[in-house]
């Protein structure tokens, strides 16, 4: 079982998550070009990590659970990398004469 997390930790995580929500909301209104996507998804990924690590107690879970949590996101990364690798590279080669 998990050790009891102090209320202070939960409140601090909640405060960070709320501040980051406002940050991502206002940064999105500044035109950073391609960086907008990177910043928005970076903040979202960081928020997700906080929720998983503290609210979902993976911090104090056993190594097997930690491995499976990692594996889940690793598998999703494979799903996205292979799908997008296909779609994004379709125009990279010139079409053969039989096309």
């Amino acid at each position: 079982m998990h050790p009891v997390t102090p209320v202070r930790t939960y409140v601090l995580i909640w405060l960070t998550l709320t501040i980051l929500t406002f940050v991502t909301y206002y940064v999105a209104q500044i035109d950073l070009g391609a960086l907008n996507v990177v910043v928005a998804l970076g903040i979202a990924a960081f928020k997700m990590t906080l929720v998983i690590w503290f609210f979902m107690h993976v911090r104090t879970d056993n190594p097997l659970t930690k491995l499976f949590v990692f594996a889940g996101f690793f598998w999703m990364a494979i799903l996205l990398a292979l799908t997008l690798g296909d779609y994004f590279s379709r125009n990279w080669m010139p079409l053969g004469k039989f096309w």
Binding site: Y10, L17, Q29, N36, A40, T65, G72
Partner: protein, 232 residues
């Protein structure tokens, strides 16, 4: 014979016989829940992947549709869900410490914030319905005006389909979460949880936080990215 009988009555009533102790039972339950959540990650991951493909195929159409989203609704809903995650985490903590009254209060607060999310979402859907931004429903899809370039008439419908499917599946998960919380609250009222056994609260919390995480990604993807790009 008398000895085995004594041992059998000694262990906590919630301990299933195929587990060594409560700790092992708890670890197995959270592990099992995480395995379920991995299937959920793949379920939403497929939608996120398809969304990314279409967004990269029609970036300008996407920028045009994002002008019909209201980021204020999205941000408010994100804040509401994050508060509900805090109250959920505090509910698990209260269950762990055996604070029965606080556990029930936190569960009720979690359900209130979860319901508030769905109410805000409902107002938003209603706005789309009135504005004619619901594809496939005759009379509720209108694509005209300065923000709606005619060349994107078809592509915009695809992107709104993504919006409704992704937020819709998320909303269904919220409804399921509210059902789970109702069950947990009824169990908590009977005093089912305490320091030696709070597994159902912990495992339901994992589900609730997962649904929160899905929204943490839906918010920037559907409401924020591309919103600065005003067309024409």
């Amino acid at each position: 014979m008398a000895d085995t009988h004594a041992v059998a009555t000694e262990h906590p009533p919630q301990l299933r016989h195929h587990f060594d102790d409560m700790g092992q039972q708890f670890d197995s339950a959270t592990f099992g829940m995480w395995v379920f959540l991995l299937t959920e990650i793949m379920f939403f991951g497929g939608m996120f992947g398809a969304y990314t493909v279409y967004r990269s195929m029609y970036p300008d159409a996407f920028a045009a549709t994002s002008n019909f989203m209201n980021p204020a609704f999205g941000a408010a809903n994100t804040a509401v869900l994050i508060v509900s995650s805090l109250t959920m985490a505090l509910a698990v903590r209260a269950a762990h410490l055996g604070q029965q009254k606080l556990l029930q209060i936190m569960l009720v607060l979690t359900m209130i914030f979860g319901t508030a999310f769905l109410v805000i979402k409902g107002f938003e859907y209603h706005e789309h319905w009135v504005d004619g931004k619901v594809p496939l429903f005759p009379g509720h899809w209108v694509w005209e005006g300065a923000n709606a370039p005619p060349q994107f008439a078809h592509q915009a419908q695809i992107l709104f389909c993504f919006y409704f499917f992704m937020t819709g599946f998320h909303a269904i998960h919220m409804l399921v979460g509210l059902g789970i919380m109702t069950t947990i609250l009824m169990m908590a009222r009977k005093g089912a949880f305490g320091p030696s056994y709070y597994t159902p609260v912990e495992v339901s919390g994992l589900y609730w936080h997962f649904v929160d995480i899905v929204w943490i990604f839906l918010f920037p993807l559907l409401y924020l990215i591309g919103h600065t790009k005003k067309l024409i």
